[in-house]
Every structure is written in structure tokens, then in C-alpha cells.
Symmetry: C2
Subunit: 340 residues, 2 copies
DNA sequence: AACGGTACCGGCAACGTTACCGGTTTTCCC
DNA sequence: GGGAAAACCGGTAACGTTGCCGGTACCGTT
């Protein structure tokens, strides 16, 4: 285990002081070109690499960003790739932690990353999270933080997310326009803002088109396919069953699709279905499923850019909020009226 | 920006030396119980957290593992979750870097992680990677390293992977037993060991059952669905077209499926299809697609465990190699003969 | 010859922590 | 009561780096 060379080794071999070596390596000023050349030559020869730990200790920054995500499903892993892309470019290394949708795990991750002295946080909250004390700690220490995708009004921080209200509206209005009358929504956990917003969009669309809201058609369950399946089964077992379902995620849409098939109903004739996220799988199943697309990769990139900005203007007064537009992709599952 | 409290602050407030504080905090020995109590009380009050950077600098270890993966698709993100799980338990923080299947990016990631002075590496190589100098650098520095999933004989290191030969064999033998005569294989890039091994299993199965190898039925393409689609189209356009296709990934199986449907062929009657990975999507498409399952989450956990072992026995002579069994899931796409 | 300026360099302290050594006081035992 | 051991504590150096300050040598100017 030959220890890596340090600035001291170079100084010793060249019979000069460490200060001079240090200066030679970065700051051209105040150092004889000859000396500098000698130092750089030796740097090359010994393959000297500055010790980042020592630098971090001295400069009080680690050039590391802590990213906390609830999971690494299709959407989030795209977003993470976007974050990674931009961060790497800007000289940051990213530490990705998965909370696995667990509140406890999220707290642990936060603590670990704080201990690692990351320069900042990029966060998407877990579905279990209802209190935000662990994140407040970050803010108390005045460490930059940006939330993305799963944001929450309870956390005053710069945020990047899609227009969830708009997305919910797009999906619902589309179903209305296709002539569906009893449109149900499979929403997520009630504490998740992302779910509430999509629900809000759903309600907005109903209101705009003077459709009466039926609370029996609003169902909350968790994001998993299985839960969505059971929830959809219950919906379909109602006396006056819905003739369309809007699910706020594609995973749930798959669950709903399975329930619909099991019940023997035909899409889009008997019932319409629209999901959210536009995962590739939707064009592979039969019938293909309509969905609201969000620009995941782009969103990740924008988040990282915003973070880096926030990093450089530490004292921004009003937290920025960036909202990205969604786009509805209409497929077989909801298209009763063919476009002319 | 109130600076976090240090051991010095505590010492000053209690009028004792930093050495004593340091001892009080971890090593019970050589410190008066009274003093210790006072220190711990103040630790609590000030909410003191040891500075990991300083610790790392001193102890020459960062308790951080660098993980490099080519992407975060279904299989790899499961594996990463397994790694994360075990590492976190053992007190390590994980830095996940995606190479995006790019050789250059992989090198950059390696360098960055080396600079970050991670305690070790857990690596799955990109599909572009043909030379391994960048990883050799890790070994020269005698930093522990474990490779997983996408391993390569060119890299002498402890490794964890599935039995790729066995998996390829299972899939192919199954197709033979179902009565398919001209079985094609869609393999991956030629430099990927993982692909070559599955191909080897394919050849083994043919040999065992005295089926003649037809080189026209062995096609190499990259892992993407689109490429697989085109490759499958070409296969199906042959004069003597294959009556079964084994693809070494599910993404490719999807591509092949689309080509088969476009051609108007029926699975499993006209043609059989078996994929690899057993992604959930396979049971959602129609027909459902058979596939070779690998225990991804488990594999990740085992990898991390092996890494931690390697960490503690730095001078292991023979690199361990752990091989996990695969399991074939037979679905509609390949089941011509119904089980009795 | 005296002075000011510049080019170059080295020493010290500091970032936060701990290992090691040496010192003082107390306790214990014969 | 003397000596040894135990209990407790503080100072120093070190991990690798850089900012700051002060110092020397040389040059050109008056």
C-alpha cells in the first residue's frame, strides 16, 4: 500500500517549501517559471492528485450533492439521470439515496448525507412523509436545498415540478370530450401534494364541463399496482359503476387495466382509461393506454441547474418555483371518437 | 450561518482540553465519569456532530462506496437497492454513478470517485467498455473492488453474477423441448461477457440435443428495443426463417415481439419467444412472454456483503466468484405443449 | 548611495480530529 | 510512610492543504 504522494513529497524532493509547491500547482503568480515547471514535471511523474478530503476540510465544501428519492422507478431514474448530467458537468458528484418510500429511511438518509457534509440537497419526498422536521434541519444549517417532482407547500424551498393540476385537467377533460359520463379517479395518498394537485385538475375539468362530482368515484390508494387493482375492482363492482378511470400513475393504470379485463369490460367502448407518466409499457399492452407525459429527463436537468443557481446566490429571498408543462398522449384505451 | 460546534467549543466551555473531550465522546477509558457526563450533556445541548471530513482525513477512510452502473433500468435499480440496503446497514454511504453505457463517462466516473476517496468500488461495466485500464488504476492503489452483474474475465476481482451460461441453456433447452427446430438468438455486443455466456448456454443446449448450429441464426446487436426490432425483422425475412427466438434481454424480447406481430406471426404457434430478466412487463403484454429470471435484489445484497468482506480481509489471494442460479418462467410466448 | 518596487520564497497557522506520550494526583498495599 | 500502580488530564504532532504575512534578493530610479 504505497501511500499517494502529497505536496510535501514534492517539496522535499525539490528542496522547496510546500507553500511554493501549492502556489505552483494552481496559482501561477508569485512563483518562478522554472520552479513551476519543475513542480509540474514532478506532479506528472508522481501522478500527484490533490487530496480532496483535505481541500474540503479547509474550504468547507465537498462538491457533493445529496439526492434523496423515494425510489428509482422509470420516471425518477430519468430525472436522476438529468440531475446527474448537469451536476457532473458543473463539477459536482452526486450521492443518490433511496428512501424506499419510507419515512424512517428518509430521515436516516438525510442524517447520513448531512454527516457527509454534502454541499446541498435535491429532494423528492417519500409518500409516507407527513412531517418535515428532518428537512427543516437542513434549512437551519442554511444548506442549499431544492425539491423536485414530489414537492409540498409545507417546505419553503425552490422547487421544480410539472403542472400537476394541468395534467389532471388534460386527462379528465379528454375523457369528458370522449363522451364518458361517470369518470372515476384513482388518486394517491392524501398527504401527497402531487396526488392532490392532479385531483384538483380532475375537479376543475368536471366543473368546467358542469359534471357533478360524485365522491364515491374519488378513491385514494397507494401507488402500487396491486392496490390499484383492488381499488379498481371495487369501483367496477358498484351499482352505478364508472365508465372511465383516470389513474394518477401508470403503475396504477396497469392495475386498473387488469381489473377491467378481469371484469370482462372492453376499452374504450365500455370504459375509458387514462394514466399518468407515459411509461413506454403503455404502448405495448393491449389496448394501448392513454397517459399524461411529463418531461422527466428535462425536469431533472432543470432541477440541477436551479440548484446550482441557488448555490451561488445563497441569499435568494423568494424561493423560485418552476413548473413544466405536461402533454397528453391519447391511445386506444380512451379514444372512442376517432379524430377526423 | 452559525458554524457547527466543534470539539474545541466544548473544551473551551468546560475548561478542559480537547483531548479529554475527544476521549469522553467515544473512548470511555481514562476519563472521569463526572467529566464525561458534563461533556455528553454539552454535546447534547449544542447538538454536536463530529466532522466526518476531519475524521476521514485522519483515519484515511471515508465510509463511502462508489457504485458505477451502466444505467438504472429495472434489473440494475433492483440490484442497486440491494447494495444500498446492506451498505447502509453496515454504516457505509453509497455514491451511485451512471455511465450511461458510455466508456468515456465510465472513466470520468471512476476518476471522480477516486478523487472523492471512496473506500471501495462496486462496478458493473458499460457495454462500450473494451479496455480496463481505468479500473486497473483502482487495483494499483489497492482499493477494494467488486464487480457484479456485468463481469468480465479481464478484470481480476471478486465478482457476483448469475449463471449466464445456465440461463441461456435453460431458455434454449426449453424451446427445443417445445419442439422448435430453428432457434435463433439475439445476443448483445460481442465484448460483453454477459452476452457471450448466454450465447454459450444456447450453444450448449443445441449441442446436447444434437441440433446443428446455424450461424445465420446468431445475431449480435445492442441492448435497445429498436435494434432488436430491426434485427428480428431481418431474421424473419430469411428464406428459412427461425421458428423461435431467444433474446438475451427483455427489452430485446419486446423488440422481437413487435417484429413478430408486424409480420403477422402467432406466438407460440408459428414462433416461440423467450427473454431474459423477467421484468414485470412480460406478464402484461399479449401474449405473455417467457423469460429467465435473475434474483436482482438478492444479487445486490450479496454483492455488498462480499464487498464488505473484501474490505475487512484486504489480502485475499484468490478473488471469490459467486454465481447465482437463474429460473425460467414459462409463459404463453413459448408454450406449445401444455403441461399435463 | 539610498530608496522603492517587484519577484520569489518559506514559515506559521488553521480546518477538526485523535494517537501518543508524559505529567500530576489519588489510591492502595505492605 | 514509602513506593507503585491506577486514574485522570493536557500538550503536541499529525492527516494534506492553503492563506497570510514577512523576508530576501535583485532591479531600476534619482
Amino acid at each position: 500500500m504505497t501511500k499517494p504522494p502529497t505536496i510535501k513529497d514534492i517539496a522535499r524532493q525539490l528542496n522547496i517549501s510546500v507553500s511554493t509547491v501549492s502556489r505552483a500547482i494552481r496559482n501561477a503568480s508569485d512563483v518562478n517559471p522554472e520552479t513551476k515547471k519543475a513542480v509540474l514535471a514532478l506532479v506528472e511523474e508522481l501522478n500527484y492528485q490533490p487530496n480532496q478530503l483535505a481541500l474540503s476540510l479547509r474550504n468547507k465544501q465537498t462538491h457533493t450533492i445529496g439526492v434523496i428519492v423515494p425510489n428509482l422507478d422509470y420516471v425518477l431514474s430519468m430525472m436522476v439521470r438529468g440531475i446527474d448530467e448537469v451536476a457532473l458537468e458543473a463539477g459536482y458528484t452526486v450521492m443518490i439515496c433511496q428512501s424506499n418510500e419510507s419515512f424512517g429511511r428518509e430521515i436516516l438518509n438525510t442524517r447520513r448525507l448531512l454527516e457527509s457534509l454534502v454541499d446541498g440537497f435535491i429532494i423528492s419526498v417519500s409518500s409516507e412523509t407527513k412531517t418535515f422536521e428532518h428537512f427543516k434541519k437542513i434549512q437551519e444549517k442554511e444548506i442549499p436545498m431544492v425539491v423536485f417532482d414530489r414537492v409540498t407547500p409545507q417546505l419553503k424551498a425552490p422547487s421544480v415540478h410539472i403542472d400537476n393540476v394541468g395534467g389532471g385537467f388534460q386527462a379528465t377533460e379528454h375523457l369528458i370530450e370522449q363522451g364518458y359520463k361517470r369518470i372515476a379517479i384513482l388518486a394517491g395518498p392524501k398527504n401527497l401534494d402531487i396526488s392532490n394537485k392532479r385531483l384538483e385538475g380532475y375537479l376543475n375539468a368536471l366543473k368546467k364541463h358542469h359534471v357533478k362530482v360524485d365522491n364515491d368515484l374519488i378513491v385514494h390508494c397507494d401507488f402500487s399496482q396491486d392496490y390499484a387493482f383492488f381499488a379498481a375492482e371495487e369501483l367496477l363492482a358498484m351499482k352505478k359503476r364508472p365508465d372511465a378511470i383516470f389513474t394518477i400513475s401508470d403503475r396504477m393504470a396497469i392495475g386498473a387495466m387488469l381489473a377491467i379485463k378481469k371484469k370482462g369490460l372492453e376499452m374504450p367502448h365500455d370504459i375509458g382509461l387514462v394514466g399518468f407518466n407515459d411509461e413506454p409499457i403503455l404502448s405495448l399492452v393491449s389496448p394501448t393506454i392513454s397517459s399524461v407525459e411529463q418531461p422527466s429527463f428535462e425536469l431533472g436537468k432543470i432541477t440541477a441547474k436551479l440548484f446550482i443557481e441557488a448555490m451561488h446566490n445563497p441569499e435568494e429571498t423568494t424561493p423560485v418555483e418552476k413548473i413544466l408543462k405536461t402533454k397528453l398522449y391519447v391511445r386506444e384505451s380512451s379514444q372512442r371518437i376517432l379524430p377526423k
